[in-house]
Each structure stands twice: as C-alpha cells, then as structure tokens.
Symmetry: C2
Subunit: 381 residues, 2 copies
C-alpha cells in the first residue's frame, strides 16, 4: 500500500569518493536541465554525432562503431560479450577480481565456454597465463578488465593484445572505471572491443555504457552464424540508428543522458586526455602517501596501481562498516567497502574525474583519520 | 577527428506530441538536479522503496516483484520475455503492429518458438484467435501489446488473461505507452508480467522500464531449468538489490533517473490514476473531433482507440514528411510518422501525461491545419 503522501526528494550532499558513481560535474547537471527533443529530431542527430566523435577521442580510436549503449556499464559488458559469443565458442576469461567473475558469468549465459585464467585478487593477469590458455584452446576472444574496481589493479594490456592477435583472438577490455582517468589507447594497444560507463571518470549520471568496436571485431560479428541473443544490445541494429544516415529507429535513446554524456566528454576534451591522466596519477599518489603516513596498508600490488581507485586493507580489529558509516554520517563522504571475497577486508577510495583533486585528498584523509581515532584505533604504532 | 571545439547544448524547445518521448514534467526536471548519492546509500534505499510502492500503485498491483529495469522500454520487453522463455518454449506472440513484431523477434532470439497470432495493423487481436493458438500449442505464455504505439489501438486484455490462464499460460503485457494514461489493472485483469517505460505518460526522461511480475510468473521463473540468458536483465538477481534488505549489488542503478521516476510517479499519485485516465480520454476525444472536423480520417479502429495516442491517415497527395517538418520548424511541435508498414501512411499524435491538456489539443490542431493549408491541401472538400 502506498503511504498517504510522498515528500520532496531531499538527498544529502555527498562527496562520492567510492568505487562510483562519482559526483556529477555541475556542467553536466546543467546539460540535464535542457529541453528534451525527440530521438529522431535533427537536433538530437547533431548531439549524437558530437557524442560519437568525442567518444572516439576519449577512447583514442578511429573505430566507426563507437557509441553509448543504453544501460549501465554492465550492459556494456553484456553487449561486448554477447555480440561476439555464439553457442559453444571458447573465450578466455581473465579473472582477478569481482568484475572478471562477472565476465565469466556472462560468457556462460551467452552459451560460450569460459577458459579461465585466474590470478589472486590484487594481482594482475600475467601474459604468459593468457598465452597458455590461448595455446590450449580455440578461443575466439580474450576478455579482461583494465581497471579492476574491486581491487584497484591496473592491468597492462599491450602485450596481451599482441598475444591475442597472434592466436587470432579478439581482445575485449572492460574500461568501466578507467576511461577518462587512466591511460588507455584503444587503437595503439590493439583493443578490439572496449566498453565503459558514464558515472565514473566522466562524471555523468549512471545509465550509459560507451562502447567501441574495431573493424576486426565487426568482421567477426558480421559473420556470425546466429543472431545475437540480445535484441536490445545488438550492435548491428544499434549501429543503424547511431551511425547511419537512415537513423533507423531501434529504441528510444536515453536523450537526456546523451546530453549529459556529450557535456562530460566536452569537458574531458577541453582539459585534454593526457593532462587528465597526469592529474589522476598525481592525486592518487598524494592519497596513497597520506594513507601510508597514517599507518594504513595498500591492498593492491604496488607495481600496478590504478590511478583512479585504490584499495586499502582494513586494519585488524577495525570495524569496516562502522568507519564507512562515520565517514558518511559525520562528513558526508562516501567510500566503498570490499566486494566479493574482499568484503569487510578493504576500503576502496576513488578519485574520479572532477573528484580527482587535492581538496578531496585532504578531506578524505582527514575524515578517515578522525573516524579511526573515534573508533579507538591507534594509528601511530 | 574531433572538431576544434564543441559548443554549448542548445536544444530547441519542442512540444513533443508524437509517439514519445513526451515532455518532461518541470518537477521531474528539478528532481534530476538534486545531488547524486551512491547506489548503496541509505538515502537511495528510501528513494527505491518509495519508487517501488508508487509503481505498484501505478500498475494497480500488489506484486512483490515491481521495480524499474535499467534500460528503455525495449529492455523491459526483453527482460519480460527472456526471464520466461527457455530454449524450445512455445510462446503465443500477438502481432498487430510494430511492437508485436518486436516481441516475436525477441522470443526468437531467446530460443523460443513464436506461435503467431496476427491481426491487421489498426485492429485488435481477437480472443478467439488467441484461444485457438493456445489450444493448438503447448504455449508457456501469451505476449501482447496493450497500447500499440504504431497504430493507436488499445487492446482489451481481461478476456485474453482468462483464456491464457485456462490454458495454464502466463500473460505478458507491453504497457510501454499505456501506463499512467490508459486504464490498466494488472492484478484485477490477471496480467502476469507487465512492463512500461519512463518517457511516455510518466513524463520522465527515457532510460527506465518499470516492470511488475506476478507470483504465478515468479514461480515459473524460479523453476527454470536454465539460467536466464541475460545477466543484466535477470529479475532474480535484480530483485536482490531492489527488494531484499541485503541490497546485494547487481549493477549501479541509474540513480538520477530513479529520482526522476519517483517524482513522475509522485505527481501521478497526487493526481490519482483514475482522474488521469479520464483526463487522457477527454483530451484525445477533443483531438479526434478536431481532426475529423478538419476532414482528416483516423486510421485506428474506432472501437479500440487508445486515449494517449492516435494514428491519422495521411491524406492522398499530401507529403507526410513535409508536414511534420513544417510542424517542427514553424511551430516547434513534434509529431510522429508511421512505423514499419505504416511508414508514410499515418501521422501519430500523442497526448501523454502532462502533455494531455486542452491547450496542446488546440495548438496541434491549429498548427496541422495551417501546415496542410500551406502545402496546398484543401481541407474543406
């Protein structure tokens, strides 16, 4: 039964320094307030064209097939996988965290056979292990996460792309957390399918998943024996709406979210991708130094730290959830706990897009220090 | 290559009187500007709970499983179908318009076998035809469109629900266009799965697809032999996030769109569903009378006219597209052309949610009259 009445929305003003979503750029918020037009309006076609161009810039690609999927990052993941996989296909699934597991799950649901390459959470996937999996299978693709949000690991991709191509396999990369914050070169590195999300380093509302697909991958997709099992996520039909002049209606695009994405990308373009990568690196370095000065330990392998999110070991005897609650209730700062096997064992602090700045580094360090103190945890050992 | 620079968004102020999206309620726009919180924030849990309650009100249901899918209406359609269908399952697909065809396509992609029940576009599906299909098959479900946006037909559902249940089949209903504008009683009529979209009569941005599922249907879903082929649209896992106190993370909900949906539903709740149905009926009646006075002919079967959208025959010798362009360029009014086999043959005028009012009826009639006059079409025959 509904209540008698429902009040106004009154969300608290959080500083979102967790694993995402990040805060929304005020410019993006403004874009959301602009008048909506139809999904076939000539004005919207211009917005779409700009968005596609700006996405190509962000992904560093010339791929024709580049547009946002109308769903969150996980819809991007499912689209990437289900467009490639046909029943019985073997796919190398690289699993060193929560989102690698999700990739495996989706491959299986598409009727594919996952060839698992596992590494401990917090470590990277070694290229030798990928090579071995490719040598011992008939894999059509390798799927791997660039920035594993669950562990803070940044996965090197160049060598793995080379190996995949040597074995005539495609490389599918999850860049949900990395796009716009971490160095990423789709064309130069040889990534065939790369997908991301709007709500991390692009500071847009969640609900869109940018994707880009190489010609090599499109050849595979165009030559499938069977239709893609998902109608909604079928790249060949979405392409007709997003990229062809005929603009054949597929589904109603999330128009306001596309306004927002264009604005988030415009901001990125104005700052410049490379400057952004540097900014993210500098700020995460400052954060990590501060955390270590406080006596906290980083969970992630130090050689492969992601510049937009870091995972910190929850100290012995400290109540994970209580600290996060204090940060939220007393400082209006949201950080994330651990996912899957890291539940209760790590905190995750993200500095994504506009949130990657010195002020936030200082704020979260100070708040965390005070919360730990209040909970009686003695930092100076 | 990106351009040197990208300008500010400057969308025209359209009055959206086509097949959807409709204009966004200013209250909903305001809701979109509120601060974003995390998808696991206790405040967002309250927003989710309100949204679920208000959706139950809008669908007239007590179904536990009621929440928005994170995609547009077509994602709702795919979710409804792929959660029910397993490989080889027979499903009665009722096809009397563009969206019925889409249902068939999605059933096929889920590995189901469509038992087609066809009626001419503009006519309803007769219950006898559904009964015959059920008698001659082993169908697990009947899938049918309530308000066929492509033709303006409103499909009676009560009898078809009864027949489906007699044959132990589920009834899946597409209420993308009807929810919040047309009389719809999920529980009383015996609808098992009903999905809709945010951007029609709810005046929210496109990007969410409310869905509700009966216990009868959930029993079928819980007893599947195989996993649902889509991970993203799997109701059993989405349920754990939306409805269980554990709030197990599935994917990042489109938080701002949920704010918006809550506000759109709050507005609906304040007006009252029944008052809304009456308002939509009255305004579409006024529109139809006006169109006929102008000498235009309605395409839709007069006994089954949908109160939120109507299809008008494009008069002989009139250039469909030219008239729509004139409306858009000279009056900033968007109406829709025909889809599929009706391309070039009908115009579709929608009065959805806040757009269903007397002022808009007068405006669109006057604009259409003038546009036809300017194109040399003599209305008074």
């Amino acid at each position: 039964m509904p209540k008698k009445s429902y009040g106004e929305l009154k969300p608290p003003e959080r500083l979102l320094l967790g694993a995402g979503p990040s805060n929304i750029d005020p410019r993006v918020l403004r874009a959301l307030s602009f008048p909506i037009v139809g999904h076939l309006d000539p004005y919207f076609m211009e917005v779409m064209d700009d968005t596609v161009e700006l996405l190509r810039y962000a992904f560093k690609t010339k791929n024709q097939i580049t547009f946002p999927i109308s769903g969150t990052g996980s819809a991007g993941m499912e689209s990437a996988i289900c467009n490639v996989v046909e029943r019985g296909d073997e796919i190398v699934a690289c699993i060193n965290g929560f989102f690698g597991e999700r990739i495996r799950e989706i491959i299986d649901r598409c009727g594919g056979r996952s060839i698992e390459v596992r590494a401990p959470w917090g470590k990277i996937i070694e290229k030798e292990a990928v090579e071995e999996a490719l040598a011992n299978s008939n894999a059509k693709a390798v799927a791997i996460v660039h920035a594993e949000t669950s562990t803070g690991v940044l996965q090197p991709l160049r060598e793995i792309a080379k190996i995949a191509h040597e074995y005539d396999a495609l490389l599918i990369v999850d860049a949900v957390t990395s796009l716009g914050g971490c160095e990423l070169e789709v064309d130069k590195w040889g990534i065939d399918i790369c997908y991301s999300a709007s709500q991390k380093c692009l500071n847009c509302p969640p609900g869109l998943a940018p994707i880009t697909v190489s010609e090599r991958a499109m050849d595979v997709i165009r030559n499938r024996r069977t239709k893609v099992q998902s109608w909604y996520l079928d790249l060949l039909t979405i392409e007709k709406y997003w990229l062809e002049s005929s603009r054949i209606y597929h589904h109603t695009a999330p128009i306001l979210l596309v306004y927002a994405l264009r604005e988030g990308l415009r901001f990125l373009y104005e700052e410049g991708l490379e400057s952004r990568w540097i900014r993210h690196k500098e700020n995460i370095q400052a954060l990590i130094s501060g955390l270590e000065e406080m006596g906290l330990n980083i969970f992630t392998d130090r050689n492969y730290m992601c510049p937009v999110i870091t995972a910190i070991k929850v100290p012995h005897n400290v109540k994970d959830r209580r600290i996060r609650e204090r940060l939220q209730e007393e400082y209006n700062i949201t950080i994330s706990g651990g996912l899957g096997e890291l539940k209760g064992k790590v905190w995750r602090i993200g500095l994504m897009g506009i949130n990657s700045n010195k002020k936030n580094v200082i704020l979260v360090l100070e708040a965390l220090k005070n919360a730990l103190k209040k909970e009686g945890y003695n930092l100076e050992k």
